[in-house]
């Protein structure tokens, strides 16, 4: 049983799509989780931890605070990249760079940069090019959000109205293109062709991820593989490749590049899985966007796919993408009655453990430990 799980966490497994359909997922998870009934209860510990010693023996603080040390002025700097003459277009493009986002991706990038630099030669210096990756990652992410919101006809994000609702769909799409082009200019100015290749891969993955979301699979096992692939492309690829990019800039060792990539990929997948769980378990105030959003978009995420194992009557709803009246509520009920949430959370845990396993290979440092702590935060966050 254990071996099969590891198959999914091995690097390069994404390149073998034909393997996907051969693994009977749900049987696996059932087997493992029935063997370990206590894994469902994950201790909640709060975001602000008291200072304590880590494996590296140094005191550490909140990983967000630690990461922010290198990111002061992040949003101002992003806005400087958006050199736009028309004031309305500028306003639209700057709309989400207001300092109110979580800046999760830039923080991971900043911490990874330091962790790699220290691992390589004990350098406590973050290069300007590495910091630029943090900006670029956030810009690419935001550009894709702007387009996604038009595609999904979303009304709110981060507690405010979406760009498409305020300015209309035409302008919103252009704003997304603008942010993307600004990110590309910044990327080019770093002057490193390897880094350009790494991050342009993300742009392609983001689009392919959206296409995956448009399509659907009939077969249950294919569905789960499809879901994980979409999760990688839409969420984890950006984090994995940004981590890899900063490691390339900081250190010549390809082993380190792979570690950075694997950390990013695993934590990215875990992050999305928990996001999908929160869509069922949290209420709309906390999230800044309405919940059951995924069901309303016709998307069958982790909790739904697991729940379907227990309630096969969900299959029909999944195939018609919850389009009939009452489908969304019924599906939600099924999920909450099933162990779909727990199973998805357990899966997220596995990915987090893998991320930690990878990053632990780096030399100890406060930043490395912060990255470890981040994985715990990913699992226990409530928004």
């Amino acid at each position: 049983g254990r071996l099969r799980w590891e198959h999914w966490l091995r690097p390069g497994v994404w390149d073998q799509p034909e393997q996907h359909s051969k693994i009977p997922y749900f049987n696996l998870v059932k087997h493992l989780t029935s063997a370990c009934p206590n894994v469902y209860s994950i201790s909640r510990f709060h975001h602000t931890t008291p200072d304590s010693k880590t494996r590296s023996g140094e005191k550490y603080t909140d990983p967000f605070k630690l990461g922010w040390r290198d990111l002061k002025g992040l949003y101002e700097d992003i806005r400087k990249e958006l050199l736009i003459s028309t004031s309305e277009l500028k306003e639209m493009s700057e709309y989400y760079f207001d300092g109110k986002g979580k800046a999760f991706r830039p923080i991971i990038v900043a911490l990874m940069a330091r962790a790699c630099n220290i691992h390589h030669n004990n350098s406590r210096h973050v290069q300007a090019s590495q910091r630029a990756i943090a900006l670029i990652a956030e810009m690419i992410h935001t550009a894709s959000l702007v387009h996604d919101d038009v595609i999904d006809d979303a009304s709110s994000r981060r507690g405010k109205h979406t760009v498409n609702k305020i300015w209309g769909e035409k302008k919103a799409v252009l704003a997304g293109d603008l942010i993307l082009s600004a990110a590309s200019i910044a990327l080019a100015r770093i002057g490193n062709t390897t880094v350009i290749s790494i991050l342009t891969q993300v742009i392609e993955d983001l689009v392919r991820g959206e296409f995956l979301q448009l399509g659907s699979k009939e077969n249950e096992n294919e569905r789960f593989a499809h879901y994980l692939e979409k999760t990688f492309k839409k969420t984890a690829s950006l984090i994995a490749n940004s981590c890899k990019a900063v490691s390339v800039l900081g250190c010549p060792d390809p082993v380190v590049h792979e570690i950075a990539y694997q950390y990013g990929k695993n934590i990215g997948i875990a992050f999305q899985l928990i996001d999908d769980v929160l869509d069922f378990t949290s209420c709309s105030d906390q999230m800044g966007k309405p919940t059951s959003a995924d069901l309303k978009l016709g998307l069958a995420t982790g909790p739904v796919l697991f729940a379907c194992q227990q309630f096969p009557e969900m299959n029909a709803m999944i195939m018609r993408r919850f389009s009939l009246p009452g489908d969304v509520d019924r599906a939600r009920q099924y999920v909450l009655q099933s162990d779909g949430v727990q199973q998805t959370t357990y899966l997220a845990q596995q990915y987090c453990h893998e991320a930690v396993r990878e990053i632990s290979k780096l030399r100890p440092s406060p930043e490395r430990d912060a990255l470890i702590q981040l994985s715990e935060i990913v699992l226990t966050r409530d928004k």
Binding site: D177, L180, A182, I185, L214
Partner: protein, 342 residues
Amino acid sequence: MNLRQLLVRLPHYLGASGSPRRLWWSPSFDTIFSVGSWRGQSSRSPAHWNQVVSEAEKIVGYPTSFMSLRCLLSDELSNIAMQVRKLVGTQHPLLTTARGLVHDSQNSLQLRGLVVLLISKAAGPSSGNASCQNYDMVSGIYSCQRSLAEITELIHTALLVHRGIVNLNELQSSDGPLKDMQFGNKIAILSGDFLLANACNGLALLQNTKVVELLASALMDLVQGVYRENSTSAKINSDLQPFTKEKTSDSMTFNLNSAPVVLHQEFLGRDLWIKQIREAQEKGRLDYGKLRERIKAGKGVTSAIDLCRYHGNKALEALESFPPSEARSALENIVFAVTRFS
């Protein structure tokens, strides 16, 4: 499926039938400004233009239409073709864009790639250290330059597709069901994004950060251009929405944002222009033929021609820095063809 088969099938997929519709900015010359008072065999007639372009294509070694559609050969994109097919019968602009891309090939819509190739050839082989030396050269053009031409087309097509998004809150019942427009928007965004992603990948493969920076800046400028164009036309256009359906060629519609019209308006002043528009309206419909006559009687057309020639001369001046060659002559011919109005 090879490119030829795809192209033969695409119009059918897109439900095309009858005469092709032309996009306003394409160099198709039976627009209002090339008929009427201009005498003789117009050198902007399709026959001449095609001749100029096909000679240019021989110089660069292959036909350059459909450059941006070559990425359609991927499996991924057969998905897009199928999705676009669902739009047949709806009124979403993406369908028009897609048809235009295929149908207007005879007018060599995709000029930009051709121009890039000609410039590459006119510039000649690199001396010294340029990174191009690692690339093959065919017909005097490096493969990296060909790649760049393709990328240019990709970016241009991507923006063209993105321009076809509709604002959902401005829809009227004549536009058809909301969900068709929503679906069309979805596909338009994704297709455009896919083309941009392909462009980015192509740029990354060139392994030249300066080139990436240049093209990314070009994209940024293009986006701002599209935005401004949408904005200025928004006011007048929104009043005229009910009138901007396609008419017969006698009273063919024209873009109120085109240079002659904009310049005409500048000479007249806004109030007089609005008056002219109102006078050209009959029973709530805009008589384009009437409006056209008013514009031709003013100074807008001649100043647009002057502007065009000014830019043409600038282009010719720039070409002088290349050594004389077939490619340079072909570029000059293109400039002449585009700037002659009689």
